[in-house]
């Protein structure tokens, strides 16, 4: 009758989680029910019900009874565990310190990284309507650069006319605003004249985004074109403590107008993709009306907020519809004009959108603060490496010290301790130390956070909830580490037979054999970080010292503050004439844009071939001021009228055009059908007008005002003897000549260096992590070396008696660490090489060569560090008087 039995695994599982004293009653009831079910429902269904019923017992009302009883048994010993733990920590103060300190450093670093990653994920989350706000983007077929893998170009820059169309024609859209940030214009209020960065938006901006207004009414803002909304900082700058509402301020941007302050808005938080200091209505943008009607001009990011429960699909189809309605003719023309035929099923242009909270990590579309989620992953990886190193230390140190407690374990077993109790004791002990280091680590986080913020260019603040989060993350980590560190030694120790331990048959050596692989692993990890950061440093060094092909020193970059107009040219010439008599000013040149302050790139067809080139407006002083090397031909000459149409090209352009005799060529970049184009009068040696991430691209200089543009930027070279005096002189001159224009300046070399700030930041972070890793591994190594030396005290004593000198003993003690370090290095070298070439270097077209010395240097540094750490103990042990160590034997 009993031949059918329920699934055994379910019973075993339940028996594990069930409190022992309740088990028999529960099992009996389950079996009884099972038998009834078999008769009633058949075997298969009965088995299913049995499993279901068994699992229903996994509930707090049952499980929790478990723990209470368990803790009850062990709690008798808990006070003793605490006492023994405290004694042990005191007895081995130094190791306890190393142990706790290493762990807390690792933990602190991990917490910082957690904060960083969290900060990345929290970007733009503060907007109340974040789920309904989208940024619209264009996805257009790229007729310029043919990339067969992904021939589409994506960008957030759209036509200015799109926003009004959406507002008027899309029923599912509640609000829409355009957003143009970054333009600098001149502000004047009484005697205060400054340039300010302005942001052009529409009135819905204030209703969509959660940027609270301190003063003013969101529903009534920007009904008039001449309104301005400012942050409190700007308000204080111009109006002091006076209420700014209703004040008028003169703003000059292609013509002066008086604007009325109608609102004060809180500044954007650090975790915002949108940024502003001064908000102006879109209608004030240059050429607003013309852009509004030109659907071929992409220059305006646009955000929409959909209505509650709006249908995204109908929104998308409306967007498609808008393209057909406003752009179809133009797109057809583009398709026909394309050099390579485009298949008719390829859409020339499509609108896409990204939800507001996803903008920050969407690297496909460039945006001011966009950040690669890869960074978070890599940082997380580094954090894991470091915490791994720290944990390994902790575990191996605990292991090595705990073996010396073999006798204590023996006694405990003799007195009646069960294995589970021993495990419990060691776990409690290591948990105590782990929790201490966690508290310590949190202190380190508080201490390091400001520096970390500086390194990572973030504004993370520790709030109460963040601390709680960190504590919980830390606690979980600590419990895992503590358990690992505590349970393994106890398992290891409790295997010994108490009789053989207590009899004294065992030698008193601490066993360090099993810690060797751990040491190799952590040393390999540190070596990996060392090599990577040294390589990053070398690349940075290479970039900052590389000869760019022009002279970037002692050059001031000054905007003319006159915009895109004839006046800019006049400012340059006026300033040059006035500066000629100044001994501190070497030369003055004008250009359309200085390096890393934007560029112009023109695309055109020459002989039916698609070409493109970078263009800089220049004057005859440009080449000498920057010290650009003229290979062939001559510089521009003001006295030759034909030069206003001539071009000076770079070698890359000559290569691009496949010219052999460039000075007899014409460059027809204006697609001139009558003439032959611009005459080439000179060829300059390639120089890095772009960042070193880019290769040399075709480029030409021109004085053609109408087609290339005006010189809106002054480049002033000052005498190298005293740059500060030169700067003062330039400033004084400027204020004399143009008292109504603010004097803004940057140094050219600073501008150029800024291109690499992202890499610099990464180098800093890598450097920081390497520092942490080295510190932690050295601490671990120090501890292990100490144990090793203590182990061999007697051996050293005997050797000394036999006549070994200090050197021999030193060598003896350090030999194994050197071998371990070399082994670790040979593991780390290929790994870091892979990491650097695959991830870091690939962004740079101009790379520092990776040479073997690099690895050698890193390795020697690592070895020296390791030797220095272990030598302390070796020397100490070698210097001991053998009489002291051997007299008890």
């Amino acid at each position: 009758m009993n031949e059918v039995s329920p699934p055994g695994w379910a019973i075993r599982f339940l028996q594990r989680v069930c409190p022992a004293h309740l088990w028999e009653g529960i099992e009996g009831d389950l079996l009884e029910q099972f038998q009834a079910d078999v008769e009633e429902l058949g075997v298969t269904r009965a088995k299913g019900r049995f499993i279901w019923n068994a699992f229903r017992f996994v509930r707090p009302g049952i499980i929790l009874r478990n723990r209470i009883s368990n803790t009850f048994i062990s709690s008798i010993m808990v006070t003793n565990y605490f006492k023994v733990a405290a004694r042990n920590i005191q007895k081995r103060k130094f190791y306890s310190f190393i142990n706790a300190f290493g762990l807390s450093i690792g933990l602190a670093f991990c917490m910082l990284i957690v904060l960083y990653i969290q900060d990345e994920r929290e970007f733009d989350q503060f907007h109340a309507n974040k789920d309904r706000i989208y940024r619209i983007e264009e996805k257009s077929f790229d007729t310029w650069q043919h990339d067969s893998a992904d021939p589409f170009r994506r960008s957030a820059w759209l036509q200015a006319g799109l926003a009004p169309v959406i507002k008027a024609e899309f029923p599912e859209v509640e609000y829409v605003t355009r957003y143009n940030d970054g333009n600098r214009v001149i502000f004047r209020y009484e005697d205060k004249v400054f340039t300010e960065r302005v942001t052009y938006v529409d009135q819905d901006f204030f209703k969509m985004f959660t940027f609270p207004l301190l003063k003013g009414n969101a529903d009534r803002l920007f009904q008039d074109k001449l309104e301005v909304v400012i942050t409190p900082e700007i308000a204080t700058k111009y109006f002091g403590d006076v209420d700014p509402i209703g004040k008028t301020i003169e703003i000059e941007n292609e013509g002066k107008s008086l604007f009325t302050v109608t609102g004060v808005i809180t500044p954007p938080p650090a975790q915002s993709s949108l940024s502003y200091a001064v908000l102006l209505p879109q209608e004030n943008r240059n050429n607003y009306q013309r852009n509004l009607e030109n659907w071929g001009n992409f220059g305006t990011p646009t955000f929409v907020q959909l209505r509650q429960n709006a249908n995204l699909e109908s929104f998308k189809s409306n967007l498609d519809h808008a393209i057909d309605k406003y752009m179809s003719d133009r797109l057809e023309r583009w398709r026909k004009e394309a050099v390579v035929p485009i298949s008719p099923d390829v859409k020339m242009l499509e609108y896409e959108y990204t939800a507001l909270p996803e903008i920050h990590l969407n690297t496909a579309i460039s945006w001011d603060k966009v950040s690669d989620p890869q960074y978070s992953i890599i940082l997380g990886g580094i954090a894991l490496l470091i915490i791994l190193i720290a944990c390994i230390n902790y575990i191996s140190l605990s292991l090595t010290t705990s073996t010396s407690r073999r006798i204590e374990v023996g006694i405990r077993k003799v007195v009646g301790a069960q294995q589970s109790q021993l495990v419990y004791q060691f776990t409690v002990e290591s948990l105590i130390l782990a929790v201490i280091s966690m508290v310590f680590g949190l202190g380190l986080v508080v201490l390091f956070l400001p520096y970390f913020n500086e390194f990572t260019n973030k504004g993370i603040a520790l709030t109460g909830s963040k601390i709680v989060q960190l504590l919980s993350v830390g606690l979980v980590l600590m419990i895992i580490t503590g358990m690992l560190a505590g349970s393994y030694p106890s398992w290891f120790l409790s295997r010994f037979k108490p009789a053989s331990v207590l009899k004294g048959g065992f030698t008193s050596r601490l066993q360090a054999g099993f810690t060797k692989p751990l040491v190799v692993l952590q040393f390999a990890l540190s070596a990996f970080l060392i090599i990577s950061s040294v390589m990053m440093y070398r690349q940075m060094q290479f970039i900052t010292t590389k000869d760019l092909g022009y002279n970037q020193d002692q050059i001031l970059v000054i905007p003319t503050q006159a915009g895109w107009s004839e006046e800019s040219d006049r400012v340059v010439d006026q300033f040059r004439i006035r500066a000629q008599s100044e001994p501190l000013i070497v030369s003055v040149a004008g250009t359309s844009s200085s390096f890393n302050q934007g560029f112009s790139r023109y695309g055109f067809k020459i002989n039916g071939e698609q070409k493109s080139a970078y263009v800089y407006a220049a004057d005859p002083q440009y080449i000498p001021t920057l010290g650009i090397h003229l290979l062939e031909g001559r510089n521009f000459d003001e006295n030759i009228p034909a030069d206003s149409d001539a071009v000076i090209v770079n070698e890359a352009l000559v290569r691009d055009m496949k010219w052999t005799d460039p000075l007899n060529q014409y460059y027809n970049w204006r697609e001139d059908t009558v003439g032959m184009g611009s005459r080439v009068i000179g060829v300059v040696k390639d120089y890095h007008f772009l960042s070193l991430e880019e290769k040399y691209e075709p480029m030409f200089l021109s004085m053609d005002k109408h087609n290339v543009g005006y010189r809106t930027t002054l480049l002033v070279k000052v005498a190298s003897a005293d740059v500060t005096a030169g700067l003062d002189r330039v400033k004084a001159l400027w204020q004399q000549l143009f008292p109504d224009k603010p004097f803004d300046y940057t140094f050219l070399d600073d501008d150029v260096a800024k291109q690499y700030s992202r890499y610099k930041r990464w180098m800093n972070i890598m450097g920081l992590s390497t520092g942490f890793a080295i510190l932690i591994s050295c601490l671990g190594l120090f501890g292990l070396a100490g144990i090793n030396a203590v182990n061999r005290t007697k051996e050293i004593g005997i050797r000394k008696v036999m006549g070994a000198d200090l050197q021999t003993i030193f060598f003896l003690l350090n030999k194994q660490f050197v071998i371990l370090a070399i082994l670790a290095f040979s593991l780390a070298a290929p790994l870091s090489w892979w990491f650097i070439t695959q991830w870091y270097m690939k962004d740079f077209t101009f790379q520092v060569p990776l040479t073997w010395e690099l690895f050698a240097i890193s390795m020697i540094t690592g070895l020296i560090l390791a030797l220095a750490t272990v030598s302390y103990h070796a020397i100490k042990a070698a210097l001991l008087n053998p009489a002291d160590t051997l007299k008890y034997e």
């Binding site: 009653g25 529960i26 038998q35 229903r56 049952i62």
Partner: protein, 110 residues
């Protein structure tokens, strides 16, 4: 009465334990509830409730003798304590008191 309070299910289980007397163990209570009230309850729920009632002091338990059934596993027999009986009685009376307050005339009207 005010200090301890029984939930509906607790009261049901306690009552069943009172009815079954010496045969009051988990599975029997499940079957009894099914038979008398027509309600399918899960074994684990009954067990948890019984343990809770034991914590509150309304039942006490002991292991019964081994039988050939149920794989030779002993039953855990629950007996209602005096406190448990008193609790059941108070609850019944309290409910009767409340019941009396409902105007009974309405029934006649229908």
């Amino acid at each position: 009465m005010s200090k301890e309070f029984l939930g509906e299910f607790e009261e049901l289980v306690l009552t069943m334990a009172g009815i079954l007397q010496d045969e009051a163990y988990g599975n029997a209570i499940v079957n009894e509830i099914k038979q008398r009230v027509g309600r399918e309850v899960n074994l684990s729920a009954v067990h948890v409730t019984l343990y809770r009632l034991e914590d509150k002091g309304f039942v006490k338990s002991k292991m019964g003798g081994a039988t050939n059934q149920r794989g030779g596993r002993r039953k855990r027999i629950f007996t209602v304590t005096n406190a448990g009986l008193a609790m059941l009685r108070t609850m019944k009376e309290a409910r009767m008191d409340l019941w009396k307050l409902i105007p009974q005339l309405k029934i006649a009207g229908s």
